[in-house]
């Protein structure tokens, strides 16, 4: 059987009584009265009920008898020619965040950006996005953004700031002026900086990245003579070996790599080519979850692992690491030697990266999967420069410091030292968009425009250009960073003029410039490919690795999360704060990730309290070098037993915003997590920052802290819902799944009195149709729609889903989904219409045995929907196009539908999250998510989707507003609806292209082909046997490995007598 049972968490695996209770109480809400002694003897007896009834009737009468308010309709005074109220405009632009790059298309309505989607014209990102790109539009409307320049802590004007800065710069003549920026992708911004540096000969430009790739830059400089990063081609790789590089989640350019990776993982019965992915990592990342083979190691062992892999490839020397690592490396080396291999490494240690370069050179990756002809510019920061800058500041050698898109007071490892130095700098200027940790200490703050308000450009790869155009005028008194620099350099041209002149000249005329701006990109027709010859000092690197200190008992890994990454403005983005982490499913906090075995044995965090049933987690204290970090323990199966991990991006100052602020809330509870950056070390051997700390001590603490984890909310109660095969099983017997499905439903494909023989093939080609007709006694519910024109369907490929959650945020942005805040996530009240279920298999005591599967889950739009026939007011009904419709204005909130939904995809509005109620004082506030209801932030709402009020149920609508719009456009043009014209938000956001959507009645459509020809062997419906007839199908997960843990002897779900502890 390929259909295995998985577990979402240890509590589900162990079926603890507490977990069973939680599952039984799906709606974690007490009734407002005590019915322990029977309903009629309850504390709130019948008479009170009548009182309530009387009151509510009277209240309703009063509320309803009010006069209709007089509403105004205010047209434009002078209508801009290109704005048509009610019709969206789209502008190509470029998302740039430090060195993170994504070509996007901005959707604007009535002049305000409301949604970002990928630009399909880009040959780098191909229309892919990430959760952060999707959430970026909310940062534009962030209430914490600065609304004017600041001088010495008080509101100021640009004229005043300019005066102070130019005077200060002139006064700094004897000392050095530093311009400190994050990686700059923009060629014109670099010109501006050059102009500034020319004006001030004593000025220097230093690049500093919060998450640095200096190790790679230095290693490449040594190995290839180029201090830059190559382009990677995961799509061309047959074998991918990743040494702690979470390239699908956070490493370098995850949007680009997810797309490429997806290309190499698309398979069907006719095309069995699939890349093989090995992952070695200390923690559990989403790349590890997608890997075919995975083993764990300590962070201090990573160099040894790289060296061992090199020795295997170069000399065939058998590795002498752990058993699992040895096996994995031997297999990986054999596969890499076959050619088309690619090894990537997430370490920031120069020496490890030199070894990785040597491996890639030895397996011939240069020129096949690693492209040195087109370099990537994503990261340019050199750590030693920053360290020297801080030293210079403390030595009083710095006259002025201008800081753009950096926040060292928060994310520099020795922030105290930086701040002491800063106090010695006469003129400090920040371009921050908010009073973040650094801006608060700067004398002058001249806030930069948001990128959605800016002209600009980017050169993510050599020769690949991408353009930024404003989709809204600056909301506040802010000024482009480049304009500030030009002003101070004494240049009178504006950046916009300079920028357009630059590109008009470079692209050869106005027409070419306009076209490039409209397309958003300007790229060569094909990407050239080139190798490089390795000339690094391998033996020195290997010696340095051997000499590196061994780790202490426990080692700490510091990591950026998939959601809020390195921190920055993302920490104050409520969408991202409430996005469940792909692996831990935790929201709103950072915490110590720990393996179950360690938690049990060393931290006495017994099962019921450390897992998700009990949200109040035990805490542990990490100490190093006089610094401490007291955080709750969250158990993560698949973590190395001697490793703990803490995320960056938390523990922010309140100046960053209400959602980000850490400290205590109004109830005295600790919020916002802790800052982990102080545990980063500067490695003097490799001259780079080290994002693991091998010298920490960690000890249990008696305190507790609540962590809001969505893991076992919406439980399937252990029902098997995923099919998983190895590639070998699938290639030998592609029809196994069809037979399994037939074994389950075959009995119900004939009339009860008809004789049914098992078909010769083992399955019946028409079983779907027959099961639809014969699987129920009530044929009315399964009748096909009368017009037979459109039947919407969705297909989700579990093989290419990486769990990155871009779809979750895209759905939230498109459908105005409420943020509920930590308190209510704890009560399982989160509203995400689309959630990604994460399932483990394997033995939690053995991290290397753990395999992880993601399954995006949303309303399945069942044709025989169990929710529809239990609604007493017909608020949920079926459309002739196969949609399960939810009508908010009809819903009275009985929640019967949610109770009856086998997929647990319906969400109830327990509170008035967003002021949509007609009652004034009903709005829910918790102090952290409240900015979502600010008039400024509300500009992000999609005007085509109702904002739901308290007391109604909601769920995925298949983006019905997009379907209706697509149909309307087709009608207006008088053409039949073309396949692929209508896309759901999740589909459009998906980086690996695992979601397909279309009219399943159209034989030409992609979805029809998936179901009936191309992928029919892998297709299945979740809980198909219930005869609910879902309109969402899934494609089975295929691992290119020897075995899958689920269902094997290593899986505890199979043999529950071996429970841990």
């Amino acid at each position: 059987m390929s259909q295995k049972k998985y577990w979402k968490g240890l509590e589900e695996l162990n079926e603890t009584p507490a977990h069973q209770q939680v599952v039984a109480n799906e709606f974690k809400e007490d009734l407002p009265f005590d019915i322990s002694g029977g309903l009629l003897q309850a504390e709130t007896p019948r008479r009170d009920f009548l009182k309530y009834l009387g009151f509510s009737t009277a209240a309703a009468m009063v509320a309803a008898s009010c006069e209709m308010p007089v509403r105004k309709v205010i047209p434009y005074a002078i209508k801009p020619e290109d704005i048509q109220p009610g019709v969206a405009n789209y502008y190509a632009s470029t998302f740039v965040d430090g060195g993170d790059y994504c070509a996007v298309v901005v959707k604007t309505r009535e002049g305000r950006p409301i949604k970002l989607d990928g630009n399909t014209k880009s040959s780098i990102t191909y229309g892919s996005t990430s959760a952060r790109v999707q959430a970026a539009v909310l940062n534009l409307y962030d209430k914490a953004r600065l609304r004017h320049p600041m001088a010495n802590g008080a509101e100021s004007t640009f004229a005043n700031a300019d005066k102070i800065v130019t005077e200060g710069l002139a006064a700094a003549a004897g000392k050095t002026i530093y311009l400190l920026t994050s990686t700059i992708l923009s060629p014109t911004t670099k010109e501006v900086i050059a102009k500034f540096l020319a004006k001030y000969p004593n000025a220097k430009h230093v690049t500093y990245d919060s998450i640095s790739y200096s190790g790679m830059l230095l290693a490449n400089s040594e190995s290839y003579g180029k201090r830059s990063l190559p382009s990677y081609h995961f799509d061309k790789a047959k074998t991918i070996v990743s040494l702690d590089a979470d390239f699908l989640g956070t490493w370098l350019s995850p949007v680009e790599f997810s797309y490429q990776y997806g290309q190499g993982r698309k398979i069907n019965a006719k095309n069995l080519n699939m890349s093989r992915h090995y992952q070695v990592e200390p923690t559990h990342t989403i790349s590890g979850a997608s890997a075919d083979y995975r083993a764990t190691c300590r962070p201090s062992e990573l160099g040894a692992v790289a060296s061992a892999l090199y020795s295997l490839i170069a000399n065939g020397t058998a590795p002498a690491l752990g058993k699992n690592l040895n096996e994995l490396l031997t297999k990986a080396a054999a596969d890499l030697k076959k050619g088309n291999g690619l090894v990537v490494c997430g370490s920031n240690d120069k020496n490890i990266q030199v070894v990785v370069n040597a491996i890639n050179s030895a397996i011939g990756a240069n020129g096949t999967t690693i492209n040195w002809a087109v370099e990537s510019n994503y990261k340019q920061g050199i750590d030693a420069d920053m360290v020297n800058l801080v030293a210079d500041m403390n030595a009083d050698k710095v006259g002025a410091l201008l800081m753009h898109d950096v926040n060292p007071a928060y994310d520099y490892c020795e922030a105290d030292k930086f701040l002491t130095g800063l106090s010695k700098v006469a003129l400090s200027v920040s371009f921050a968009d908010r009073m973040d940790e650094t801006a608060q200490k700067a004398k002058i703050v001249t806030p930069d425009n948001n990128w959605l308000e800016s002209w600009g450009d980017a050169e993510p790869k050599t020769g690949f250009y991408s353009f930024m155009q404003p989709s809204i005028a600056p909301l506040f008194k802010t000024r482009a960073f480049q304009d500030s620099l030009l002003t101070w350099a004494g240049d009178t041209t504006t950046y916009q003029t300079m920028w357009s002149n630059y590109w008009t000249a470079k692209l050869g005329g106005q027409a070419a410039f306009d076209a490039a701006l409209q397309n958003g990109i300007y790229e060569p027709a094909t990407m050239s490919m080139g190798g490089g010859s390795f000339a690094g000092n391998l033996s020195a690197a290997m010696t340095a690795i051997q000499a590196s200190p061994k780790g202490a008992e426990m080692e700490l890994v510091l990591y950026p999360t998939v959601a809020i990454g390195y921190g920055g403005a993302w920490s104050n983005n409520p969408w991202l704060q409430e996005m469940p982490d792909p692996i831990t499913k935790a929201t709103w906090d950072n915490y110590i990730c720990m393996s179950p075995k360690t938690a049990k044995e060393k931290f006495d965090a017994e099962l019921t309290s450390i897992t998700e049933v009990e949200a109040n987690k035990k805490q542990a204290k990490i100490t190093w070098n006089g610094k401490e970090l007291l955080l709750p323990i969250v158990v993560v199966p698949g973590m190395h037993n001697d490793v703990v991990a803490v995320a960056f991006g938390y523990g922010r100052d309140k100046g960053v915003g209400r959602a980000a602020a850490s400290g205590t809330d109004k109830d005295g509870k600790l919020i916002g997590g802790k800052n982990a950056y102080p545990f980063v070390r500067f490695n003097t051997t490799s001259q780079t920052f080290d994002y693991s700390n091998t010298a920490i001590k960690i000890a249990p603490d008696n305190s507790r802290h609540e962590v809001a984890i969505t893991q076992t909310h919406h439980s399937y109660e252990g029902r098997p819902i995923i099919h998983e095969f190895t590639l070998e099983e699938f290639s030998k017997d592609p029809e196994a799944l069809l037979r399994e499905r037939y074994a389950e439903i075959g009995h119900y494909t004939t009339k009860p009195w008809e004789h049914h023989d098992a078909p010769s093939k083992g399955y019946d080609a028409d079983m779907d149709e027959k099961f639809r007709d014969e699987g129920t006694l009530y044929p009315d519910h399964t009748e096909k729609p009368s017009h037979e024109a459109i039947h919407w369907g969705m297909s989700i490929d579990l093989n290419t889903c990486t769990g990155c959650a871009a779809c979750v945020i895209a759905c939230q942005a498109e459908n105005n989904i409420s943020v509920v805040g930590k308190t209510h996530v704890l009560k399982a009240h989160e509203m995400h219409w689309l959630r990604i279920d994460r399932y483990f298999s394997g033995n939690p005591n053995d991290p290397d045995s753990v395999q992880t599967v993601f399954q995006p889950m949303m309303c399945q739009h069942c044709d025989n929907a169990p929710c529809e026939n239990v609604c007493p007011v017909n608020a949920t009904s079926h459309s002739s196009e196969g949609l399960n419709q939810m009508t908010y204005n009809r819903c009275i909130g009985t929640k019967y539908c949610a109770n009856n939904c086998p997929y647990k995809v319906r969400h109830f509005n327990w509170m008035d999250w967003n002021g949509a109620d007609c009652f004034d004082d009903n709005l829910y506030e918790d102090g952290r998510r409240d900015d979502m209801n600010d008039d400024l932030t509300r500009m992000v709402l999609n005007p085509d989707v109702t904002v739901r009020s308290r007391g109604v149920m909601e769920k995925c609508s298949f983006c019905v507003q997009r379907l209706q719009e697509g149909k309307l456009e087709a009608k207006k043009s008088g053409e039949p609806l073309k396949d692929g014209v209508v896309k759901t938000a999740c589909q459009q956001a998906c980086a690996s292209g695992c979601i397909k959507f279309g009219n399943a009645n159209d034989p030409e459509s992609e979805i029809y082909k998936i179901r009936h020809s191309e992928d029919k062997e892998r297709m299945f419906y979740v809980l198909e046997q219930l005869h609910v007839l879902p309109n969402v199908n899934y494609l089975s997960k295929i691992r290119n490995a020897d075995k899958i843990t689920a269902g094997s002897k290593d899986d505890l779900m199979v043999n529950k007598s071996k429970l841990i502890g």
Binding site: A77, H787, I790, S879, T887, R890
Partner: protein
């Protein structure tokens, strides 16, 4: 019944009008119609507006051919260095005329013939009031007759009963004492039930009516008469409500759209034929209302130019109209779906807008009203290739199994057509 009859009547008359206008369009280029749909927004036959007065234009211009060339491509004519063209261009403040490449020479000639034939209006006696047909007033008669007949039945029944009693008494039978009707238990019970039911009926109906605003006619910041614009002057609805065919919102025009015509038209000259009167009977000075528009639009009527601030932006402020047609937030309505795809006339929902000085809400805008129309209206099934998807219906139409496809048949009554 009455309602249906009315709808049928108005639809029929509408159809007749449509047919008639079609016919005349086919027969020969109709100068008046072409003028009104293309030229009238900028030109008046008799006096200067945004563009010059057109009467006698054929005598002024160098040649007939020149005129054809000019109308079809004014920019090209100016660019060619034509002296006459450049003179006009400069004389009219370098405002360039819109090109009409789609007009044929015959059509341009027809327009010229029309404008030459226009005579200045002679003042006549005020327009007869009550032009709109009075409602059929016989409706109240039926309940009255029913009541009278019921009364008659009761009287006859009483008479009959009394007579029987008299007969019975006369024949010496014992007669039960009659209970007065107000103490008659059966009657009281019946009355109570009838009261309960009718109270429920009226409360429920009243509840349903809550929040509905049929016939709502608020006072607007400017007395803008649709009758004068759309009715008398025949301006196409979509000239101002330019979103109706392409957007969800029909769009209230911004004041610069008003100024396209009102740069030239600065007084209301129709007061004699059509005096402007509010619903309360107050007389309105049309010219003063145009002045209000100038105030909003930032137009200086003396200097004939826009007032501008230091940056050169026009000092216009939006007109805050009172919204008449209010749909609840949970209703999605798209004008273009109905106007462009459904080809529904504006009047079908908005009523005889071309006869309204002050606009009021003509339709109830209730869900029942929407649904009713979706049940009855046929989709433009044959003319729109989008519907080729509906192969089953096409087959049925061909086989004669159905006469048409209503909105309901393609899912027009489903919740998520309007609620999402």
């Amino acid at each position: 019944m009455l309602l249906i009859r009315k709808i049928t009547k108005s639809t029929l008359s509408l159809l007749v009008i449509l047919l008639l206008s079609q016919f005349s369009a086919i027969a020969a280029p109709d100068g008046a119609a072409i003028f009104k749909s293309n030229c009238a927004s900028c030109h008046n036959p008799l006096k200067d507006a945004t563009g010059p007065a057109l009467q006698g234009v054929d005598k002024r211009v160098p040649s007939k051919e020149w005129l054809h060339k000019w109308v079809k491509n004014p920019a090209g004519t100016i660019a060619s260095g034509d002296k006459y063209a450049n003179d006009i261009y400069n004389k009219w403040g370098k405002t360039q005329m819109t090109a009409f490449p789609n007009l044929s020479d015959e059509e341009i000639d027809a327009v010229v013939t029309y404008v030459n034939g226009v005579k200045p209006p002679t003042p006549t006696g005020g327009n007869k009031e009550g032009a709109a047909a009075k409602e059929d007033g016989s409706g109240w008669l039926y309940p009255l007759i029913t009541l009278a007949l019921l009364g008659l039945a009761v009287i006859l029944w009483r008479v009959n009963k009394s007579l029987r009693r008299v007969v019975a008494t006369a024949e010496g039978q014992t007669v039960k004492k009659e209970i007065p009707f107000y103490r008659h238990k059966v009657l009281i019970a019946i009355a109570a039930i009838v009261l309960f039911i009718s109270a429920g009926f009226f409360i429920v109906n009243g509840g349903i009516q809550m929040g509905r605003q049929q016939n709502y006619m608020p006072e607007q910041p400017i007395f803008y008469s649709h009758k004068v614009h759309a009715g008398i002057n025949q301006i196409n609805c979509q000239y101002c409500h330019a979103g109706a065919d392409k957007s969800r919102q029909a769009m209230i025009p911004s004041s610069n759209v008003c100024m396209n015509c009102h740069k030239g038209i600065n007084e209301y000259t129709g007061a004699a034929e059509h005096p402007l009167v509010t619903a309360e009977g107050k007389k309105v000075d049309g010219t003063a209302e145009i002045q209000k528009l100038y105030e909003y639009a930032g137009w200086d009527p003396v200097k004939k130019e826009y007032k501008r601030d230091a940056q050169g932006n026009i000092l216009a402020k939006p007109i805050e109209w009172v919204k008449i047609h209010n749909l609840p937030d949970h209703v999605y309505f798209n004008h273009s779906q109905h106007v462009t795809v459904g080809q529904i006339q504006c009047q079908r929902c908005h009523g005889p807008i071309e006869e309204m000085d002050e606009v009021y809400q003509f339709s109830p805008l209730s869900m029942g009203w929407c649904v009713n129309c979706h049940r009855q209206t046929n989709v433009q099934f044959e003319n729109n290739n989008y519907y080729s998807l509906y192969t089953k219906y096409h087959a049925e139409l061909k086989a004669g199994k159905r006469t048409g496809v209503t909105v309901e048949d393609i899912g027009g009554l489903e919740c998520q057509k309007c609620h999402y």
